[in-house]
């Protein structure tokens, strides 16, 4: 193995990337990135679910406020939103805490990253889930209502399972955006994969080695998630006629 790498002139790169070299830093960065991506995606789903319900069944004011939220978030660059939410977020939380007589609140980098990206994800998730809920045949929900099911149970037992197959492709896309958007946190100095890569590259001057290695890691995340989501989609579509093949 080592001989082969030496033969290809990659011996130096392999040593830099080994776990005792800078490879460990890259993996730590990847773990941070994934942690934030999971958290932001989850928070985005929660916001998105409430947002979608609000847009579909909420009052006039709720609907208008949600429209402003999704429009603004989707028109302003993530980088700008991250800076605004990052600086404003902890400021506001601390002021609220002080107003309520509490002490200073500790906000670690991961929580801040999740909050910032989660708010951004929420806007996109709102649209994806709204479209998916609308695609559920109204008859199913009406039938559930006529059986006297409570609203929350309808949501849990009928709407969400039925909309899953429509929502999965959009959500898969959102998850990929979440993993890639974590890179933007490098700009506020959060040690995720891109910043770790950057620091390793400038400490060792091996720019190409590290950037390509990081690119490979991101690509692996994308490809693996693609495979997982394909599975999930198949599962969500179980019992439904295939859309691709047309009539069966």
């Amino acid at each position: 193995m080592t001989g082969l790498l030496e033969l290809l002139g990659l011996g130096a790169s392999a040593e830099l990337l080994s776990l005792s070299g800078w490879g460990g830093n890259l993996l730590r960065g990847l773990a941070n990135s994934l942690q934030i991506a999971f958290g932001a995606f989850g928070l985005g789903l929660v916001i998105g679910l409430f947002g979608a319900y609000g847009k579909l069944y909420g009052g006039k004011v709720t609907r208008d406020l949600l429209a402003i939220y999704t429009t603004v978030i989707r028109a302003v660059p993530e980088l700008v939103l991250i800076l605004i939410l990052y600086y404003v977020g902890s400021d506001i939380i601390n002021k609220i805490s002080a107003a309520m007589g509490g002490g200073r609140v500790e906000i670690n980098g991961v929580a801040a990253g999740i909050w910032v990206l989660g708010v951004v994800q929420g806007a996109y998730a709102t649209e994806v889930l709204r479209g998916a809920i609308k695609a559920v045949p109204t008859g199913q929900i009406e039938a559930a209502k006529s059986y006297g099911m409570p609203a929350f149970m309808i949501m849990r037992r009928v709407t969400i399972p039925a909309m899953m197959s429509f929502a999965v492709p959009g959500l898969a896309n959102l998850w990929l955006i979440a993993t890639k958007d974590t890179a933007l946190l490098a700009v506020v100095g959060f040690n995720e994969l891109t910043l770790e890569t950057r620091q390793a590259a400038s400490s060792t001057r091996a720019y190409f080695t590290f950037f390509l290695a990081a690119g490979f890691l991101y690509l692996m995340v994308t490809l693996c998630s693609g495979a997982v989501f394909a599975r999930v989609e198949k599962w969500a579509r179980r019992g439904q006629p295939s859309l691709k093949g047309g009539a069966r």
């Binding site: 700008v80 605004i84 933007l184 950057r198 690119g215």
Partner: protein
């Protein structure tokens, strides 16, 4: 478009009043005295943003057509590289791609001293060519995937009809296939262009002086944090609004 009657619903009037109140509060309570000093720089930055956006979108679209075509109908030795390209661009963060192009390539220059005396050196020294290249490749990667679907979506019957008329292949492509594929993607093109707009501030990290970089400069010089960022967000919303209006026009016309 929203009609005046829609806007005049009671709850909307209240919301608009609240919003106006917030705007007035912002105008009075926040600091805006830096605007006159930085206005010329901001205009230059705005121009740089629009220019980079326009050029990279245009070139990216030109590149996306062959990428989509190769994936839709190309032989394997064209379709596999095209698909690989799209997967890599779409699978890695743009920030990483920009840094790889700018700092990665830059780190190789000293190994080739002749580069500094070449005719390309004045361009290689500057940051904007890397910014345009990175954004073009990114747009091509995302749009190439869309174009693949668009080319596959053109009804086969029309192509067969053209063939039976004895139309040469290139004319067929130019007159029938491409226009219909473009019409297929037009509704998504506006959204893709807004996504591209939202990617432009990333080039500020390689020293391109566009509008985002100007706001950072204001923050650095004056230590005013929120005001430049709020104004910046408004500027981007304005540009995004113009883009979506323009594409809506284009779609109708």
């Amino acid at each position: 478009m929203i009609s005046l009657k829609d806007l005049m619903q009671p709850h909307r009037v209240v919301m608009m009043l609240v919003f106006a109140g917030i705007v007035i509060w912002c105008a009075i309570a926040l600091r805006w005295d830096w605007i006159p000093k930085y206005a010329p720089l901001a205009l230059e930055g705005l121009w740089a943003t629009v220019w980079i956006l326009a050029v990279s979108t245009f070139l990216g679209f030109l590149l996306a057509v062959p990428l989509g075509l190769a994936q839709a109908v190309g032989p394997w030795y064209l379709s596999i590289p095209a698909r690989t390209f799209c997967t890599i661009i779409r699978g890695t963060p743009l920030l990483l791609q920009i840094w790889l192009l700018y700092y990665g390539l830059g780190s190789l220059f000293p190994q080739f001293p002749w580069i500094r005396s070449s005719e390309l050196w004045p361009y290689l020294r500057q940051a904007w060519p890397y910014a345009v290249l990175a954004l073009t490749l990114s747009y091509a990667g995302y749009e190439g995937e869309v174009m693949r679907g668009a080319f596959s979506g053109v009804a086969k019957g029309q192509l067969e009809a053209a063939k039976s008329f004895g139309m040469p292949r290139f004319t067929m492509f130019r007159r029938i296939w491409l226009p219909q594929a473009v019409r297929n993607v037009l509704p998504t093109l506006g959204g893709e262009t807004i996504l591209q707009l939202k990617a432009t501030p990333l080039v500020a990290t390689i020293t391109v002086m566009e509008i985002y970089a100007v706001s950072s400069r204001v923050r650095a010089d004056t230590f005013i944090v929120y005001e430049p960022l709020l104004l910046l967000a408004l500027v981007y919303m304005g540009i995004a609004g113009v883009i979506s209006l323009a594409f809506r026009r284009l779609e109708k016309g």
